[in-house]
């Protein structure tokens, strides 16, 4: 990117000292969480490709990416929110509630667009409620969204006793879940392309816009941000709403994949999402984190899960292993920080 070249010139101008650029790049790679994650992914890919003939096939990689797309899309929003020093525990319950609601809307209206808009709108409303309670009443977002976690789950159970089946038979609906945007030369499933689009949009927002910069400032020091004229509450509210709307988008993809809206969907989803964000290098203390880190962490966790299936290990480990990986990652991060003498 152009930002990269500008930085380099600035460094030369000010630092005056210029090391071997390649060594510098390597050092920078491993001075960041992203470097460690990339290394882990490459190692794991090599291992799995070696152990399982199925792993490195177009079909399996497509499945892997489709499976992670929902966690990834929500985790993109969650990254923004966690950088802004807030968190949202209600995204898992929203998978159920918004999924049920969207499927009911689709059945009633037989209109894909209306269904999607309703899903996103309900997501936005949940985000506004989270923001309003957190910022308006000054309660921590952990507590507020923990309450929403159970309220929204309860709403999902109340709105239907059983899974809401697909009764509308809109052809394009299933395509979103299981279809592909192109088949040649490689098959790219719709969820993957949606994930990629969301990633690119928010990558640019976070890196290139004043809003993105303000998210870091608000999370890094809210008082300093306010005294610099930054609308702290507005920035945080936007992050809450973005997170919930992306969770709603994930929920929509989920019902399209399952062909039904289930009121028990998304159990533990919030932990997968938050785990991926933290593994990606963000900190609950705010002001820190990148979308590349989050995406790499999501891929790593998804690959582990995929590998457990392929190697026919006890699939119960699929629940436990991500937790273990996060502990290891945080440990490595602490170690790295000690080496580079960076404070927590």
């Amino acid at each position: 990117m152009s930002a990269e070249t500008v930085r380099t010139t600035a460094e030369i101008e000010i630092g005056g000292r210029r090391a071997n650029p390649l060594a510098g790049a390597a050092r920078r790679l491993f001075a960041a969480q992203e470097g460690i994650l990339l290394l882990c992914i490459v190692a794991l890919f090599l291992y799995l490709a070696n152990r399982s003939p199925v792993f490195w096939t177009e079909r399996n990689i497509g499945t892997l990416l489709t499976q992670i797309s929902m966690v990834a899309i929500t985790a993109i929003g969650m990254t923004l929110l966690i950088i802004a020093r807030e968190v949202d525990l209600s995204v898992g319950s929203m998978q159920a509630f918004i999924g049920v609601l969207a499927m009911q809307t689709l059945n009633a209206t037989e209109n894909l667009f209306v269904g999607l808009v309703v899903a996103l709108l309900v997501g936005a409303i949940v985000g506004l409620i989270n923001a309003g309670l957190t910022l308006g009443l000054g309660i921590s977002s952990f507590v507020v969204t923990l309450a929403m976690f159970s309220i929204v789950r309860g709403a999902a159970y109340t709105s239907t006793d059983a899974a809401v089946q697909n009764e509308h038979k809109i052809p394009a609906f299933r395509t979103i879940g299981i279809g592909a945007i192109i088949d040649e030369p490689v098959r790219i499933p719709w969820p993957v392309i949606i994930m990629a689009a969301v990633f690119i949009i928010f990558f640019l927002v976070l890196r290139g816009t004043t809003f993105g910069r303000y998210i870091y400032a608000v999370g890094g020091n809210p008082k300093a941000a306010a005294l610099s004229g930054i609308p702290v509450n507005l920035v945080k509210t936007a992050c809450f709403v973005i997170t919930s709307m992306l969770a709603a988008l994930s929920a929509f993809i989920l019902i399209a994949r399952m062909n039904s809206g289930q009121n028990n969907a998304g159990f533990g989803f919030e932990l997968q999402v938050i785990g991926a964000v933290l593994l990606g290098g963000a900190s609950l203390a705010g002001g820190k984190g990148t979308l590349i880190g989050t995406l790499l962490a999501t891929i790593l966790l998804g690959t582990i899960s995929n590998g457990i299936t392929l190697l026919k290990w006890d699939t119960n480990w699929q629940t436990a292993v991500p937790g273990i990986v996060i502990v290891i990652a945080v440990f490595l991060d602490a170690l790295r920080r000690r080496v580079t003498r960076e404070e927590a």
Binding site: S2, A3, V6, R7, T9, A10, E11, E13, I14, G15, G208, T209, T210, F211, R213, Y214, Y216, A217, G220, N221, K223, A224, A225, A226, L227, S228, G229, I230, P231, G287, K288, E342, E343
Partner: protein, 537 residues
Amino acid sequence: MMAETTTNATSPQTRAELGANGARPLLEMRGIRKVFPGVVALDDVDFDLLPGEVHALVGENGAGKSTLIKIIAGLYRRDGGTMRVDGEEVDFRSPADSIARRIKVVYQELDLVPGLSVAENVFLGGYPKTPRGLVDWPALRQQTVEVLSHLGLNIDPDRPVGELRVAEQQLVEIARAISRQAQILIMDEPTSALSPAEVEFLFGVIERLRQRGVGIIYVSHKLDEIYRIADRVTVFRDGKRVVTKAIKETTPHDLVAWMVGRELSEFFPKTPPQIGRPLLEVRNVSGSGVHDVSFTVHEGEVVGVFGLMGAGINTMGRVLFGASERTSGSVQLDGVEISPGSPADAIRKGLGLLTESRKDDGLVLPLPVKTNMTLASLSRFADFGWIRSRKETRAASDYVKRLAIKTPSLRQPVRFLSGGNQQKVLMARWMLLDLKVLILCEPTRGIDVGSKAEIYRLIDAMAHRGLGILFMSTEVPEILGISDRILVMREGRITAEFTRAEATHERLIAAAAVATNGDHAAASTHQGAASAAGARG
């Protein structure tokens, strides 16, 4: 000044005199050195404390008092020199080592557990036990009552500490020291939150401790207190010990001279001001901690606002800027009313505020130098929200050069910079905007002397370009050095105004000092002058 002639004197005769009762020093420190990146905090410092002595430590902010205390408390390790407690050489690696040597520090922020009772706090970490290993509650109560009565205190040992007044909490801390048989007690600004009656009581307690042979190191910049209770005084300046003397052999005037020491004229690059139209017009403003203030700052003018700690100078800055509540009055900038309670509005109209606590509400510590610099002016480098990175970087690197900010790169997280360079980053943040008036709250607080001089130079240069400057400070010399006009605050009100020509050290102090009880005017002014020179700890 006279400092030079007395520098070498640990004053042998004084030591001989005090040591005549045959007492061995409780604490002896020789050639103590402590270096922080870029700063020598303590340079070849000698210090000792005798049993039953109150030894006062005085000096300006950053002179080295707190570093010395932290070394004694085991919070810092010294880089050089020797330290003996009770004649034995010691090397404290942690506060626990210091406590084991029966040393107790009572900090300004008390470290009590608010939810526990007085008795539980006094013996925290060493409760009396029953034979079965359980806490012996009756014994705990009994022993607490004993300790409290030693101090002449009448506090219910079962009351939670959180319910006590600050003065009582402080006494509980001292009781804790006694419960551990502390022989060295260090008190850091113990009277800053106390009423006159509570101060009297505290002095009574100190006297009892002295009679029990406890050695007390007393840090304060209130010289009147020091003259009441201290036996000896040690003055620090710029990390060096200037002098140690029996208090009887000194006058408050000497102490101030030793504390301030340096030649100040060359320090302040004051050029003749070109004062223009009125820019900031403050009319009858009241708000949280500020009462009915009115004044005007003109184009190209530096208006100094002087006040002692707690006088409300920084609060006034926040109220004008909209960071604290404004209940009445009007603030106009170049004829435009600034809405209360909105820093964003103030910035848009051309008013900036540099706060006194740069790490708390100034810098975003984990973010890079560049980001911190452009935080308030970012929209100027953006088209429709998209940051023009090249433009931003050019502006930031320009200021790094102009202000001579020492940083390896613009991407360096600002937390790794020294205090002086951090402050310059914040100055750059406001210089990047085309402000009309900039409010600076204690901009030289806690930074090294070299950076101080550079900040003064910047202030002068900004005024020359037509900016109005409102400069808040608790330090008389810098107020006198750079202001064109000086306002003095006390208890949230403006009590006096001086032109540069009229202002003297004594006049500022007289207007700033709180009128104490029956002391006759001359004495209180004199002691006030001394305490203000050391104001800020």
